[in-house]
């Protein structure tokens, strides 16, 4: 994670160099860019060493009689914790560089937590699917990115709703639904995946 955070901050720094340093434009698109960075780079955080089970760990868990579903939930919580740290640090960089306002702090905090939970669950599920092969580093983002699009939409539209004073409840519910579906899918498939 300590490599991914500077990499994400660097991406936020590079984007204005490519599209122009118009402060008004950057303030307008800043929140969207921030969430894109969280989605793309957050996947790398969620499949880091702290949240992915190696073959030896899997064998040890089996010998100890650990329920695979419990292992999946534990890895997801671990990934979500790391993602919250990632979101906070990169978020601070985004606010400084792009100058957008933080509106509705409690709702923003809830959005950060839900997105971290969703990405953590999807990342752990994808990591379980891919296993510990060498192709995993590229394949996990390819699997997670399309499935996490409702999180990206929900997070960006929630901020937009807060900015315009609209209700953001539907977007929060959309993100919560993704979290729920990912959790159910991960728990139900944990045992077949471990057996495979």
């Amino acid at each position: 994670m300590w490599v991914t955070i500077p990499f994400g901050a660097m991406a936020l720094l590079l984007i204005p160099l490519a599209i122009g340093t118009d402060a008004v434009l950057l303030e307008r698109i800043g929140p969207g860019l921030y969430w894109v960075i969280v989605m793309l780079f957050g996947v790398l955080v969620s499949v880091g060493r702290a949240s992915v089970e190696t073959g030896a760990q899997r064998d040890a868990s089996s010998l100890l009689g650990l329920d695979p579903a419990a292992g999946y939930v534990g890895r997801s919580i671990s990934a979500a914790g790391l993602l919250i740290v990632f979101e906070l640090v990169v978020g601070a960089v985004a606010v400084v560089l792009y100058g957008f306002d933080l509106i509705g702090i409690p709702w923003l905090a809830a959005t950060l937590i839900i997105v971290a939970a969703g990405l953590g669950l999807l990342g752990s599920l994808a990591a379980s699917l891919v296993g510990s092969g060498s192709a995993g580093s590229a394949l996990v983002p390819l699997l997670v990115a399309p499935l996490s699009i409702p999180l990206l939409l929900g997070a960006t539209q929630a901020y937009e709703g807060l900015r315009l004073g609209d209700s953001i409840l539907p977007w929060m519910l959309l993100m919560a639904a993704v979290v729920l579906v990912a959790a159910i899918a991960g728990v139900l498939t944990a045992r077949p995946l471990q057996e495979s």
């Binding site: 699917l129 296993g131 092969g133 192709a135 390819l142 399309p146 498939t189 077949p192 995946l193």
Partner: protein
């Protein structure tokens, strides 16, 4: 065995006849009042999209079938159908873009149907990529089956996107509660012939791909069987005669 030759050529005959009929009907059907001759692209675009749905639905059913039975036949069917579904989705997107350029003035627009179809395409590209990461048929089948089920969430999203959101893409023309929107019978037959032709192509490709997967699995299992060391082979028996001489 002379009787095998006609059997092998039946799929090609079926494909040739169905495609010829579909092309003929597509050519003789009248031009659309609004779209003109561009409507003829729809006789390929729409069947490709429908067959993509069908292919991914088959992947869903066969993935569940594998998880319940652990029979590799289900996995081969799921994998074959997903690969063909990716081809059909790519074809539907490409044809849609060719149609959109003169009609909408752009190759691509951020429409809900288009965007979700592109996402569905990448989900199943990921499915195929996932399968390539594991050589062992059983490990691969278990992992792919989970993604085959999770990925199927995209199918209803894509299909109903034109109902749930206000999109530039037109709503369903055939599968509507109030009946088909296409009034001209030749147009309807042209579309139906396209669907039949694509179904024949899908079935033929499925047969070939399932056989290919079966042979791949057989080769893998045979290689693994030959390479497997015999238990205790690494332990050499002590040479007692030589040891006795040293003493």
């Amino acid at each position: 065995m002379p009787s095998e030759i006609p059997n092998r050529s039946w799929p090609w005959v079926a494909i040739g006849v169905s495609v010829a009929v579909a092309l003929t009907l597509a050519m003789i059907s009248p031009a659309d009042a609004v779209q003109g001759d561009l409507v003829r692209i729809m006789y390929v675009h729409v069947p490709a999209a429908w067959l993509a749905y069908l292919a991914f639905a088959v992947t869903l059913v066969c993935s569940a079938g594998y998880l319940f039975t652990k029979n590799l036949r289900w996995d081969r069917l799921a994998a074959s159908s997903a690969a063909i579904g990716v081809y059909f989705t790519g074809l539907a997107i490409a044809l849609g873009m060719i149609w959109a350029r003169p009609t909408w003035g752009v190759w691509w627009t951020w429409d809900a149907r288009l965007t979700l179809t592109a996402i569905m395409f990448f989900v199943y590209v990921g499915y195929l990529a996932l399968r390539r990461t594991t050589a062992d048929p059983r490990t691969r089948a278990g992992r792919a089956a989970v993604l085959g089920i999770v990925g199927a969430v995209q199918i209803p999203l894509v299909h109903f996107s034109v109902v749930w959101w206000r999109t530039l893409h037109q709503p369903a023309s055939i599968l509507r509660p109030d009946g088909p929107a296409i009034q001209d019978p030749i147009m309807r037959w042209a579309l139906l012939a396209g669907v039949i032709a694509f179904s024949v192509i899908y079935t033929s490709l499925m047969v070939k791909r399932v056989e290919l997967h079966r042979l791949n699995d057989a080769i893998h299992l045979a290689e693994r069987g030959e390479a497997r060391p015999v238990a205790g082979a690494s332990v050499a028996a002590p040479n007692l005669d030589e040891g006795a001489r040293d003493v």
